[in-house]
Amino acid sequence: MSKRTTRSLMMVAALASASVTSANAQDPRVLPRLDAPSRAAIAAVVDSAKAQGIPVEPLYDKVNEGVVKGADGPHIVVAVRNLALDLATAHRALGALATADEIKAAASAMHAGVPAVELGKLKKQSGLRRSLTLPFTVLADIVSRGVPVSTAANAIRSLVGAGAKDKDINDFQRNVKVDIEQGAPPAAAAETRAKGTAKPENLDQIDQ
């Protein structure tokens, strides 16, 4: 193959990949709706997140959410900065193989009060193939309903360890929610429902 041909093929490949990449980039249309200092502050947070390999789409989503909910610029900047910090911590805790969705869900769980180290343990335990997006989402939910963090993390760990599918973990969340709404103590609801969902060989993990 001649050098010229090789070069032209490489250029075409680069153009094709560039078109896909530019489609992936988030369009920050919402930024003009903010005041100039807030806009600059958010651009700095986004640049820093990009440099760290953190997904930036959730940061733009947070800006959109703030604008729609009528929050002022400084309030939105604080929320975006906090989210960027949570995403960075989650990214470090989960490792390089975590997906953007797992990082988002983990950041949400951290926002609910789950320590990053617990999330890292879960990721390590679950292996590479198991997505923890839903388990992290359910963990955040049950903690926000009053289940103590350690109980909630143990319950989710036992379910994931027992090979529970996302559907099972969804059912677990619904059952815990109904139990709590009916007056059950949150910890008791989570422990009991996890035992009902997990396989018998993993029950000892829940009691720990």
């Binding site: 193959m1 001649s2 041909t5 032209s8 093929l9 075409v12 490949a13 153009l15 094709a16 990949s17 078109s19 896909v20 489609a23 992936n24 919402v30 959730p58 989503d61 947070k62 959109n64 959410e65 703030g66 604008v67 729609v68 909910k69 009528g70 929050a71 309030h75 604080v78 929320a79 906090n82 989210l83 953007a100 969705d101 988002k104 869900a105 950041a107 949400s108 769980a109 926002h111 609910a112 997006t133 839903l134 989402t137 359910v138 955040a140 939910d141 903690v143 926000s144 309903r145 996302d166 969340q173 619904r174």
Partner: protein, 183 residues
């Protein structure tokens, strides 16, 4: 073993152990065949390369190969399942809220820019059971219902979904995990 058998066996062994006298040209002939065999193989593989080179040198073929690369790159993104502009798989998702006294219900979330620029999903009512189905990218999302009722507009989390913990602006929202049905 009988005596006659042993004798016969010994004779055979002796015969096999006798060195074979090879023709003096044997080694040369073998090596010629070996070289010829590998030369043919090299020519065949060079033939492949030669065809490839003639294809890529021709402008029309170059364009065709380039178009092929672009097509493969594009098809990789836009294959059979519906996808977003960025290549993410999208799945039909139905949102349901029971709100018998509501005048209107809409769904806003990070998948529709939280309803900016009139992008809210407007639900329809079936005797107070409001629902709307939309294509939502696979992944984890946050969303809420905006209920227009007797007390004006109100943000509501989905009572049937996990809570979202990132309510920085004081209005509740829910978490949604959309799974890829193609996996």
């Amino acid at each position: 073993m009988p005596e006659w058998g042993r004798t016969t066996l010994e004779m055979i062994v002796q015969d096999l152990q006798r060195p074979v006298r090879l023709d003096e040209s044997f080694e040369r002939r073998v090596m010629v065949r070996v070289r010829r065999y590998y030369a043919q193989r090299r020519r065949r593989s060079r033939g492949w390369l030669a065809v490839g080179a003639s294809i890529t040198h021709h402008p029309a073929w170059t364009a065709a190969v380039a178009a092929g690369i672009v097509a493969v790159a594009t098809l990789g993104v836009l294959s059979v399942h519906p996808r977003t502009a960025s290549g993410g798989v999208i799945e039909p998702t139905t949102f349901v809220l029971v709100a018998p006294t509501a005048r209107s219900v809409a769904v806003v979330g990070d998948f529709n820019n939280w309803g900016l620029d009139d992008s809210a999903l407007v639900a329809t009512s079936n005797q107070g059971v409001w629902s709307v189905t939309a294509s939502v990218p696979v992944g984890v999302h946050r969303y809420a219902f905006v209920v227009n009722g007797v007390n004006g507009k109100q943000w509501m989390a989905d009572p049937t979904a996990p809570r979202s913990s990132g309510d920085d602006f004081g209005m509740p929202s829910s978490a949604l995990v959309v799974e890829d049905s193609t996996k």
